[in-house]
């Protein structure tokens, strides 16, 4: 046996074992999530959220919403946040040095005046230029902070410093929250006596194509465009299957930056958001978990499958590519920062399962796929490909991907069933058929670009231009 064939055989076997492990994990995640979703739905059917809404014992919450050049929709976005159904609440909008007229618009619309607010610098941030409150009682929950530009993490840290409540809910200012979103998100914090719940997250859904009126979602529609639609499918898969399974294992590493609730005390003790990474949302959860593990304190990170937050997904390959590039860099940076946990039994499940999973199957997967594709092309070029075997394997992999997506669609229909018409479900299924050909390669390529950008030390956020919900509404009407 020549050394070349030993190398090729070894490489092939590693890829085979890796692929089998990956597919097995997907099957496990899919099946394991069923129990958690079912348990949540059954428990929810007994829950009367009005008890919490009217109780003086409801935990106090600060919504932190950073805004940068959001002038076009800022008034409606803030109105939407102020209309959330929750008693013990403050809404903190952090104007992160916007170059547009966001602040002026807010001052005029909500009758804001500048106050001498003491900013408790528990976490170091860029300078705060002013804190504003409304002279109208109806907007008493609103606090607007104007600060020097420092990025999303820095803006959130300013919000944490300003906040005087027990829990913080970090959201993107342009997200649409369900009216009872905070009640549902707050409940897990009250439900346990043996563990401290340090963070909770809820499902984020795609709002493209939905009907929005006065900052409220009034009609759910499946996006008309392919890219937002394929992301809808992706989000269902990720949230309803992936995150629920990891939540059940208590191994969740990510609460999306678009919508998540955190125990403020632990966040402050951990030093707040890290502005040296573009994956500040994941990094915070990992750091909070690490903090609790190192102090040997019992804790949990919970995730609930209810669709609580609606966001606009990128509708062009250009913007989507930037987002995926950033997600990749964020993941790698977080893994680098916490590499001490890698297969470290001191960190329990976090070190032995969650971290290795993210390393091998979130960070390495696109790289392995890309290298595999390059090797395949070289082998094909030299006529070394066993085509029958290749097509068999390709068919199996694609079938698995489509089956997994179909399972996610089935779970969606059996649980929350947001897209009620049969036509929409069929379109979602067709999207699942097209995804491996039209979307997945793009995702892999964006991740590779993310890796390259990280090596080149590019650390920009990547501008995220949004069409705005008004457009979506108009396009529907």
């Amino acid at each position: 046996m020549s050394w070349q064939s030993i190398v090729v055989d070894t490489f092939t076997n590693i890829i085979l074992v890796y692929s089998l492990l990956l597919l097995s994990l997907y099957i496990f995640i899919g099946l394991y999530s069923i129990g958690e979703v079912r348990k949540h739905l059954l428990k929810n059917s007994f829950t009367d959220y009005r008890a919490l809404a009217s109780s003086s014992l409801a935990p106090s919450i600060s919504i932190l919403a950073p805004a940068y050049n959001e002038g076009a929709n800022i008034i409606e976005n803030v109105r939407s946040l102020l209309s959330i159904y929750y008693n013990n609440l403050e809404v903190i909008i952090i104007n992160d040095g916007s170059k547009d007229d966001s602040l002026e618009k807010l001052i005029n619309a909500y009758s804001l005046y500048r106050t001498d607010h003491f900013v408790n610098q528990q976490i170091q941030t860029k300078a705060v230029r002013g804190v504003y409150k409304s002279s109208k009682k109806v907007y008493r929950k609103l606090i607007v902070v104007d600060k020097e530009n420092g990025g999303k993490a820095d803006a959130l840290n300013v919000g944490i410093n300003i906040s005087q409540k027990d829990y913080i809910v970090c959201i993107d200012v342009d997200c649409i929250l369900e009216q009872d979103a905070l009640l549902k998100l707050a409940k897990p914090f009250l439900e346990t006596t043996s563990h401290r719940i340090i963070a909770t997250g809820g499902v984020i859904r795609i709002a493209n194509g939905c009907k929005i009126e006065d900052g409220r979602l009034v009609q759910v529609n499946l996006p008309h465009e392919f890219l937002p639609r394929v992301q809808t499918l992706e989000y269902i898969r990720a949230f309803l299957l992936g995150r629920m399974a990891w939540s059940r294992l208590n191994g969740l590493l990510l609460i999306s930056g678009a919508f998540g609730a955190f125990d403020r005390d632990i966040v402050v003790k951990c030093g707040g958001y890290n502005h040296n990474t573009v994956g500040e949302d994941m990094e915070l959860v990992v750091r909070m978990r690490r903090y609790m593990e190192e102090l040997n304190l019992p804790y949990k990170v919970k995730f609930i499958p209810d669709p609580l937050c609606w966001t606009e997904a990128p509708a062009t390959f250009k913007i989507l590519g930037r987002q995926r590039n950033r997600w990749t860099r964020g993941t790698i940076e977080t893994l680098q920062m916490h590499k001490v946990m890698f297969f470290n039994p001191k960190y329990g499940l976090l070190g032995m399962l969650s971290y290795p999973y993210w390393f091998f199957f979130e960070f390495l997967a696109p790289i392995i796929e890309f290298v595999g594709m390059a090797c395949f092309l070289i082998l094909a070029l030299f006529g070394l490909t066993y085509w029958r075997f290749f097509f068999g394997l390709l068919g199996m992999v694609f079938s698995f991907g489509i089956m997994y997506s179909s399972f996610a669609i089935l779970m969606e229909v059996l649980t929350y069933n947001q897209y009620k018409s049969k036509k929409d479900i069929l379109r979602l299924f067709l999207t699942a058929l097209l995804e491996p050909f039209l979307f997945h390669p793009f995702g892999v390529w964006s991740a590779i670009k993310g890796n390259i950008d990280l090596l080149r030390k590019k650390n920009s956020w990547g501008e995220m231009t949004r069409q705005g919900f008004t457009t979506a509404k108009n396009s529907k009407s």
């Binding site: 007994f46 109780s55 014992l57 001498d116 009250l190 346990t192």
Partner: protein, 312 residues
């Protein structure tokens, strides 16, 4: 058909002590009742209607429920091995006010499944009011904050009653029972339990001391402020904040010097709370604060400015 049955029951003008079969049931309905899907649907709609209706119509729905032997089905479900079926049966019997099943439901108030015991506890209170709280004597599992909120909501719908036993619960071995008893004490302003609440201030559990501090805010007397101020230096940061917060409503000018002396320690949030409390007790005491050596330094200078703005 289920709708028709319910509608007839709601609008029926039955005498209160009518016989066991007050509503005419057709042969077709009887036949349909052997279909478990129909029975499930009918039960669901009956419960939904009962939740939203009171008075004579509600009594009629209860009678219909018994006439159709749906209570027996619920009883069978109570013995199910599946927790959600059990919990559903408890909820059903509670909404349908089936008081004769007290003992069966009561036994489930200490069930190992959290939802089953929550439903049992809530529905016992729904059926028996304050007397139903006797499960607090025996439960070994902890009451979550969520369950305490649910129980208080259930109790809030009943006319206030001078129920006893809180004193006993304040000495429970189950710390969550003590915490709940403290919440009951403050919700129902049970001034006679003042001494027992003061005793809770020395409890080893931080949460209980925290609840006791907030309970004293609702049942305070002339000595309470001094008691809390004496306790202050032995407390955790969280409880120190609770004490300062409570002082806003119970302290007088005499407490101000001591409160100001606390500004030398603690974090900035606590300092802000102290200044706010002092200003709340007497706005002119802000002048006293401004004379402090540290009043021109960070953070006190900024804190005083904020509080001045708040009280304007």
């Amino acid at each position: 058909m289920a709708d028709l049955l319910i509608r007839n029951a709601i609008f029926s003008e039955q005498e209160e002590n009518a016989d066991d079969n007050p509503f005419p049931i057709t042969g077709r309905t009887t036949k349909m009742l052997s279909n478990k899907h129909f029975k499930r649907l009918l039960t669901k709609e009956l419960i939904s209607a009962k939740k939203n209706i009171s008075g004579a119509s509600a009594i009629n729905l209860k009678k219909l429920y018994i006439q159709l032997h749906l209570n027996e089905d619920a009883l069978a479900k109570l013995n199910s091995s599946e927790w959600h079926v059990k919990a559903q049966a408890i909820q059903e019997l509670g909404i349908m006010e089936q008081k004769e099943y007290l003992n069966k439901i009561y036994r489930l108030t200490n069930n190992k499944n959290d939802l089953v015991r929550m439903e049992a506890q809530t529905n016992i209170v729904k059926l028996y009011g304050f007397k139903g709280l006797r499960f607090l004597d025996v439960i070994s599992y902890q009451l979550t904050e969520w369950q305490q909120i649910a129980l208080l909501k259930e109790l809030s719908m009943l006319p206030p009653e001078n129920f006893n036993k809180i004193e006993k619960w304040l000495k429970s071995k189950n710390t969550s029972v003590i915490a709940f008893a403290l919440k009951l004490t403050r919700t129902y302003h049970r001034f006679e339990l003042y001494d027992q609440v003061i005793e809770c201030l020395s409890h080893e559990n931080e949460e209980i001391r925290f609840e006791a501090i907030y309970t004293l805010e609702k049942i305070y007397n002339i000595d309470t402020a001094d008691v809390l101020l004496e306790r202050y230096e032995y407390e955790t940061l969280k409880n120190q904040k609770a004490i300062v917060s409570v002082m806003q409503n119970i302290a007088s000018d005499e407490s101000i010097p001591m409160l100001i002396s606390f500004l030398n320690q603690g974090d900035n949030d606590l300092k802000r709370m102290i200044v706010r409390t002092v200003a709340h007790i007497n706005t002119s005491s802000l002048l006293q604060l401004k004379e402090l050596q540290t009043a021109q330094e960070y953070p006190l200078e900024q804190i005083i400015k904020q509080i001045e703005g708040e009280i304007k």
